[in-house]
Symmetry: none
């Protein structure tokens, strides 16, 4: 199979520009009308692009596998998600711009509400405002700076979410989640999965004891849970492997974190997602980079909420605002896909393959005339692993040398 | 590549039901009329299902590779046949319900007819009746119980077929077949392929000497050949890896043996294949299991006999009897495929990909309106490795958790 090592040897720097638009949760399913979100949406610009492009369906991980956002994005960026794994804790830390050092162990934290018996009654502490989260983290951090020689770093994320980072020698990330994933249960005890993580488990236990003491008088955030203990994977960067100078235009922390992990420059965006602002940022920075990852979250969040019509409107807005803005810049290669499907009827990520569109100068278009899952089934790209997309973009941008004599 | 270990970590138990119908040797080729068996058959129920389903073509092993029944079935059950190998001897032993122990070496035996010079004149001894096979095996077993400390087990199968199992310490299965695969030749000498099998070769040589002595006065079964020396692979079961409670509804010993190998419960069926009985068994046991492997042999045996019209009729019978019976139970997921193609015009297994139909609630159907090889070429599942089918069935049955954060 094609490996990063093959690509590293073939990749070459050129002046051409690639725009990778990621519509989060792009794939959908028919609702009771018999049409999927993409089929219901009025998308003249995407349809016209489909007419001139090559289309297909891609499996982010493998057929049948429902991906998290991490694996889906790694595949888009050219990294096999079955080879490279990213823990939830690492994602959370990267998402707030925290510079993880090799060896750091990160976890995703939730402030929660406990009843008198210590049972979780709200896994998100009523989604406390972000300012409250900032205050609580500051309070914990002021009192807990170090345990058994391990530096403890507590960083607010958004609403009830925070990141815990442990920094020191000889830490392990083989720890089980303390989040029981549902209410009506107490937080689980900290357990090490391997010997190398025993000491880390002791440190985390002590952290939790201190945190529960310090939060005892708080309402509603009188407890915490931790999950996704993990270390930053030693992943080679896109500049290093693919000889790209990549930039990310993404509003939400997690996606900025994923982009940072593979060595992208993160461009500033407003705090709320705004397609016009994303387009402006792309236009302003177009000369300075050769690969642009543009991320739209709204398509996914509507799918997660089961909001079929909302997802339709989100797609129509992309069609109206982003597509013309991207094409106006005349990039050499444009790719449009999702990191996973999020059908409104399923209210969550799904295993269905994601639509994939590739537009470039040197290609023979297929017969697809509509941007939809069903139309893309008969597209010229066929059905493929999502990780196989990036090499095709590089190729169409003349950024790959010949393999072999 | 997606491994069993990945799937083991994602698999979860749910109440949903999967029916996997295997039409043995399903794929065909056009005869002089220009139509394949599937195209010639009148199959309104399969066609209607194809309209509502996703269709495609699957390669049981890899493009161009003609599979035996073992590899084809392993792929259907979710095990990569390039990773897991099953010898013919093991298949034969499993097929008669023999409980192979780790380390046992099994071979498939044939009673044969030899002429005065020891040359094989009938590789199946005129297909002696099964009762005769039972008598002959009993006679051999009574006289041959142990050789060089190795226990020798001789078990009748059907007609001229028997299984030989050697049980003891330090046996090897690196032995060449003694069956020359055609008449006019003497049985081949027993040869070890590796040092670890030298002693086993001596034991088999001695077994054959004794067997030929004991059969010398018999007609037509006055000799034996052995092939497919093998040990049971240490394959993790479907309950263990996929968290399924699987049942097999199959008439023929080999397929029951294959199902047993991967941990299925084997349901009782009449000795002769009877589609109504298969349907009854499925209906009666539907509440107790969540994965049903239903096997139809007739499609393959007609193909092997070069009986184009017979295969057409066998397909029509499946369409008339089995398909409505399966759909009446409203399973959450239905998959229909073959373990390999058996085109009547080739009178044997072939390398052609097998038609694959997937029907479930949460899918977007493709444009296919006919159950045939040609129509499936343009199906939404595309062309894929057969082993990638099972994860898609699990996904559609909501039996796989999300991969990664």
């Amino acid at each position: 199979m094609l490996s990063l090592e093959h690509l590293r040897q073939l990749a070459t720097k050129t002046d051409t520009k690639i725009v990778q638009l990621v519509l989060d949760g792009l794939g959908g399913l028919p609702n009771e009308t018999g049409r999927s979100e993409l089929e219901a949406a009025r998308t003249p610009n995407l349809d016209e692009l489909a007419r001139r492009a090559l289309c297909g369906l891609a499996d982010p991980v493998a057929p049948g596998i429902t991906p998290g956002s991490g694996p889906g994005h790694l595949a888009i960026f050219g990294y096999d998600p079955l080879v490279w794994e990213i823990g939830r804790g690492v994602l959370e830390a990267l998402g707030i711009g925290f510079e993880l050092q090799p060896g750091d162990v990160a976890a995703r934290g939730n402030f929660v509400t406990l009843d008198g018996a210590g049972v979780i009654v709200d896994r998100r502490a009523g989604r406390i405002p972000t300012e409250r989260c900032v205050e609580l983290c500051a309070r914990l951090q002021a009192e807990i700076r170090e345990i058994e020689g391990v530096e403890v770093l507590i960083r607010p994320v958004k609403e009830h979410r925070f990141a815990l980072i442990l920094r020191g020698e000889g830490l392990g990330d083989g720890l089980e989640d303390t989040d029981p994933q549902r209410v009506g249960l107490k937080p689980r005890p900290v357990r090490a999965r391997d010997q190398a993580s025993e000491r880390t488990a002791r440190v985390v236990r002590r952290f939790l004891e201190r945190a529960f003491e310090l939060l005892a008088d708080q309402r509603p955030a009188n407890g915490v849970t931790l999950r996704g203990f993990s270390r930053r994977p030693d992943i080679p960067s896109m500049p290093e492997v693919f000889r790209l100078t990549p930039a990310a235009i993404a509003t939400y922390p997690m996606y900025r974190g994923l982009a940072r992990l593979v060595g992208m420059q993160i461009l500033e965006t407003p705090l709320e997602e705004d397609l016009n602002a994303l387009a402006d940022r792309l236009r302003e920075s177009f000369e300075r980079y050769d690969y642009f990852y543009v991320h739209v979250k709204k398509t996914d969040s509507c799918g997660e909420d089961g909001d079929f019509e909302g997802k339709v409107r989100a797609l129509e807005r992309v069609d109206e605002i982003l597509i013309p803005a991207i094409l106006a810049l005349r990039p050499d290669v444009v790719a449009i896909t999702g990191d996973h499907s999020t059908p409104s009827v399923l209210r969550g990520h799904s295993w269905h393959p994601v639509p994939y569109l590739l537009y470039a100068k040197h290609l023979q278009s297929d017969d697809v005339t509509e941007f939809s899952e069903r139309a893309f089934m008969r597209g010229g790209l066929g059905r493929f692993r999502l990780v196989e997309g990036l090499p095709q973009l590089l190729a169409h941008a003349q950024k790959l040398l010949k393999y072999g004599a």
